[in-house]
Symmetry: C2
Subunit: 359 residues, 2 copies
């Protein structure tokens, strides 16, 4: 029978050692399965541990091994299914390798990100996966590397940081998808993103996010081939809450020379854009074509189903976690798996009326 003492302190190696009538060192060896321990001692110790329901204090263990078996993950918004899925990939992979995940949300706010990284560092996580809110403001990430902590970037690169980055080639994908829109006859293509910037978009401006930079680059290149260019009235950043997104959407669709196609930078924006389009009584793709980044299950259920740029988000999470864990364990970086985005043509992109009229 077990002594049922409602004691407050947890059971420690010392307690187990006493119960097993051996020294703390021997108990620790038997428990930790290292060093030389006689069968007799091992048995007594394990029995005592079982009896007392001993559980090692991971904090103490971490403290002198220097390993916490924990990785920190810093993302902009777990509520966004994009990160939800990526987090799932990270978390599954981490668990398989015996690591835990501390998750911090930044709301895409750089100062929150700086705090998050600091907290994680203070907690001595073994490594970090960060989806940097800014590709410019990267001092805190630099510090991670100075502290010699493994770091992997997710989704976005960070300027001048020699950190491994897991992301798909967005410039190429943006180019390809823009060409597709052009080939359908679109000449006025709007791009709406929540990215916060100091001032409205102007051609050639440097933006804070590598993701958006790449997309704009790809888009610009494709446009250029047709003698067109990115313009301030169609590239709309700083889309904030749902209402502001709807208002921007109305804007680009009601201007004198309206957009005939709208590209939504992510799934969250897409929802509001589509609502706005429906509110205007416009039909997709009859009146306006629609394209969004990220592929979620629900995009197949709308009428029409949406044409999207699918990213292998889960796999990106897996890749980021594997890469980080390799770094932590001091193994050589593996060959990066091929992570490619795909353009999935469903029904939301069509030929604009103006062009149809000519044919």
């Amino acid at each position: 029978m077990s002594s049922n003492n409602p004691r407050r302190r947890d059971v420690t190696v010392a307690d187990v050692a006493k119960a097993a009538q051996v020294s703390k060192a021997q108990a620790a060896r038997a428990l930790g399965n290292y060093g030389a321990v006689s069968d007799d001692v091992r048995e007594r110790v394990l029995a005592a541990a079982e009896e007392l329901a001993y559980r090692p204090n991971e904090l103490a263990r971490s403290m002198n091994t220097g390993k916490s078996h924990t990785i920190g993950v810093v993302v902009g918004d777990i509520e966004n299914p994009h990160f939800g899925l990526a987090t799932r990939g990270i978390s599954d992979t981490a668990k398989k390798a015996g690591f835990n995940v501390i998750l911090i949300n930044t709301d895409e706010d750089v100062s929150a990100e700086v705090d998050a990284v600091q907290v994680l560092l203070d907690k001595r996580v073994d490594g970090l996966i960060v989806a940097p809110a800014s590709s410019v403001n990267t001092g805190h990430l630099q510090r991670v590397q100075e502290a010699a902590r493994p770091l992997v970037l997710l989704d976005r690169t960070a300027g001048g940081l020699a950190a491994q980055t897991v992301a798909v080639d967005m410039a190429g994908m943006a180019y390809e998808s823009t060409r597709y829109l052009l080939s359908e006859g679109h000449r006025r293509i709007a791009f709406i993103s929540t990215l916060k910037t100091e001032s409205p978009f102007t051609p050639g401006m440097v933006v804070d996010s590598s993701q958006i930079t790449e997309r704009l680059d790809g888009m610009g290149r494709a446009l250029g081939e047709e003698g067109l260019a990115l313009s301030a009235d169609l590239v709309r950043l700083n889309a904030g809450d749902a209402e502001s997104i709807r208002s921007i959407t109305r804007d680009v669709l009601l201007m004198p020379e309206p957009a005939t196609a709208v590209v939504a930078s992510d799934g969250l924006i897409a929802l509001s854009v589509i609502e706005a389009i429906q509110e205007l009584g416009l039909s997709i793709p009859g009146d306006v074509s629609f394209l969004m980044y990220d592929d979620f299950a629900w995009t197949r259920l709308t009428t029409p189903p949406l044409t999207v740029i699918a990213q292998p988000v889960y796999d990106m999470g897996v890749a980021a976690a594997s890469a980080l864990i390799r770094q932590i364990e001091g193994r050589k970086p593996a060959v990066a798996p091929d992570l490619v985005a795909r353009l999935i043509k469903r029904g939301s992109v069509g030929t604009p009326r103006a062009v149809k009229a000519y044919t």
Copy 2:
């Protein structure tokens, strides 16, 4: 092996103390802002700390304060927006109160949950929020309470566990929504859930999840008032992957006396159910009515927009985290905020054809 081991130890209080020419104790006091320290010493210590970029080791700190300022969150699936949002609520609240979140995914697997809880306990988290995969198998949760660790349950209750639980009254909501379906003339109402059970549903069986139990109770009560009852052919548990959900959907819609309304237990199931309905060439709500638990933004974008049972998921996360933190800080539990589910009637529920024929 190469000598690539510069392993620079981090700066400790001792280092700061030396640099400031004071004792470790004094440095600790100045840094920790406790005890008595002369202005002169404080200044020197803080300057030295700044100079050396000293950062306290939270692990060490946790070790002898006994507080880790970390809470553990165990959910079935972060990929599911339901938990994504709840996690967001938890995480926002925790951050505000100075706590971090360690997140573990269980895939609704009880043994994974047992492991998760154990790991979190070993890591000495200050408290736990768990969405228990089973309301029956709760030994591991019992152990949390024995270890005197604060525990809050999310979404589901756990049998015979005196833990604070944050959930909405699902029985009432299920009753109300079923009455609504009945009032529209439905008599054959299917309910599809992924809940794993040993055997197919039979009336009166005890299921593992309090959520589902409540829903079935509420549904059963409403049906009973009309002289109807839950039946094995319409209550379908164990819906697994997308294909199995589609197959079950086809089943209930093609049986001799088919269901005229389908209720999906969550947003993930809903996607496959609707796909199956579309594949069968049936229209909503003309041929079959549809109702789902949880309200996501995309449910407004389908044609028709979906009628749903909305739960204040984010607020539930907030409530769970606040309750937990109150417990951790030893404060009295606050009055639980009113968390009620709402039936949002959009366009996916209508009168079945058979009934229409009579009118």
